[in-house]
Amino acid sequence: MRMKLKTKIIWISCLAVLSASLISDIVIWNICRISLTRETYETVYRQVYEDWLELRQQLDLAQVSRQDEDVVLYYLKEKQNDYVICMKYLGYGHMMVWKEIFNHTCIESTDFVNELGWNMESYGMMVYSGYELEGKRYLVFRTSYQSDYYFYWITDITYLHRRLKQLALRMLAITGVLTVVVSLILYRMITRALKPLQELEVSTQAIAEGDYARRTQVDQQDEIGSLAEHFNQMAEAVEIRTRRIEESEQRKTLFMGNLTHELKTPLTAISGYADTMLMMKLKPSEEEEALSYIQSEADRLERLSRKMMQLLELDQKSEIEMEEHSVRELFAAVEQSCRQILRDKDIRLIINEHGERLRMDLDLMTDVMVNLVDNAVKASANGGEIILRAGTDEQGYTCLQVEDYGSGIPEDERERILEPFYMVDKSRSRQHGGAGLGLALVKLILERHGMQMKIESEVGVGTRISIYNMFTKR
């Protein structure tokens, strides 16, 4: 059976309160019973003992003998104590025969005496026993005179038992009320204490159903509060991780979609030219042309797959190896790699750095800069210039810039150029051998470095791409 934790705790605590209070009731009631009984017995004993002393004195003075039943009777009557039974013992051998001398009570004496028998407990100078008749309780003390006369002093102590019963009932009532009150208080306290748990449960369910942004609000300075705090930390970690996986998955799906899309053009060309060459009688010059297209399109496929692999590897690699290098080193590597394309268009590369240093994977960062310079070269007219700049921001992070005075990027395309395969001017960049993966790769590499890229551009004026640390305030 599934029981709510709250119900369980309340049941257990109520049982605990109830049993504790019952045990203390029993202990207290017993103490009360013992002391009350002792007190009552003591009082009764004194009273009886006084009466008995007086009677014995009178009997001694009268020198009562075995035959003087009338004298005993006389004194007893004179005492006007109706709660005394006097019996004379006539011991015929083994038989125990009693004779009733005085009895004003409604108790049938022979039975009474036989019932009490000889086994009475001693109390002070007398022996006593309890006796019950018609719902009433009596305390009976017995005294004897010259082994002939036996006096049974009967005292009604029903009131003692009634008092004890009343006490027990009162204590039970108090216990009941106490249990109810304590239960109510506990219920409220536990409800309040467990409320965050309920909220945690709801949040857990929400997260399980996919609401990863869900958090709990618990301001409690106890274990539940810290549990909620840790829960939130866990949810945060799960959310970040899930989002990262989703993003990576999305990126991969996009890559794959774009890749198949991008594969179609070279495939159409390659199979189309091959088909043409097989099926048609071409002039030698046309055959040569077809072959050269087959080759260049196959090259394009190869470049595409290589960049694709690079992109996927980079996406999977958990950590990149970063070391501190000087920006001068980086720029020198870039200049080296771009020398040919710069020379082809007669473009001057102006380098502007002041000994800045940067933690990076030098090879990957060189890839980034070469990609950006390559784009800048493609956008620039012959004989232009491109500026490579390094600087330090207010937080002390090194930032980099590539600036050109080329054709610029239209505003509505600035976001989209970061998508894999996107090209601003498709025919132009394809003619230049681009596959459209460059900036997507750049963005990914920068992300892995904890850096980001800002593109400022105006059509016909030029483009400035800034690379700066993610924590740089703008």
């Binding site: 088909d275 099926m279 048609m280 009688k281 260049s296 025919s427």
Partner: protein
């Protein structure tokens, strides 16, 4: 004899060149643009086209927009695109395109579809001129150097297919399908027999080439 003029808008150089090369061989006259805007600009001056092949994703102006300019002139459009999603197909076809080819496509299929589209637009020539022959597709008659040559119906159909796809090798299987129909249960041997007859009757032993393993090709290199 007038050739069908085809407007091609395709930004990929390799594909564009492939199309012009094949269409020229098949006897079309082509004008090729790599930019949608340029195509439209020049179209204003010269709109004598029988058909347009448009790539959807081209710089300048996309294929759908270019089609809007061609509509008033009743120029049928076939889209060529790498986009294989239903949305762009619907957009293209409901926008008035005659057909839609998804890359990668086969040249033979494109040529057949172009032919169908031209036939629907009544822009095909009823009389085909190949080599020294004049093939009248309405009267089902062939004149060689002015003299009528009698051909059996299937021989005539085969000649028309070869003539329409001149300079292109067509496999026996494809010939069987194109001439006799898809549900014809014959053997490729039938094709060989009919080709033999054509060669004999029209003295085309040289011009109808057997391309090893591939099929037959009617060569008319002058075109």
């Amino acid at each position: 004899m007038s050739r069908n003029r085809v407007l091609i808008v395709e930004d990929e150089e390799a594909i564009g060149r492939l199309l012009t090369m094949n269409l020229k061989m098949a006897g079309y006259e082509t004008v090729w643009f790599q930019d949608g805007q340029e195509a439209v600009d020049s179209f204003v001056k010269d709109h004598r086209f029988d058909l347009a092949l448009l790539d959807v994703m081209v710089p300048g102006m996309d294929g759908f927009a270019v089609m809007e300019f061609l509509k008033p002139y009743g120029i049928p459009v076939i889209f060529l695109t790498a986009k294989d999603d239903i949305n762009s197909k619907v957009q293209g076809l409901s926008g008035g395109a005659e057909d839609y080819m998804v890359k990668p496509f086969e040249m033979l299929e494109l040529l057949l579809r172009m032919e169908k589209v031209l036939a629907r637009a009544n822009k095909t020539e009823d009389i085909l001129h190949v080599l020294n022959m004049e093939i009248n597709t309405i009267e089902h008659s062939v004149k060689q150097n002015g003299a009528e040559v009698s051909l059996k119906p299937m021989e005539f159909e085969l000649l028309v297919v070869l003539a329409k796809n001149k300079n292109r090798a067509i496999s026996r299987e494809n010939l069987l399908r194109m001439v006799w129909g898809t549900d014809y249960m014959g053997e490729t041997r039938t094709v060989d027999v009919h080709i033999g007859q054509l060669r004999k009757k029209l003295k085309l032993g040289e011009q109808i080439k057997t391309v090893s393993k591939l099929g037959y090709r009617l060569e008319d290199v002058e075109g």
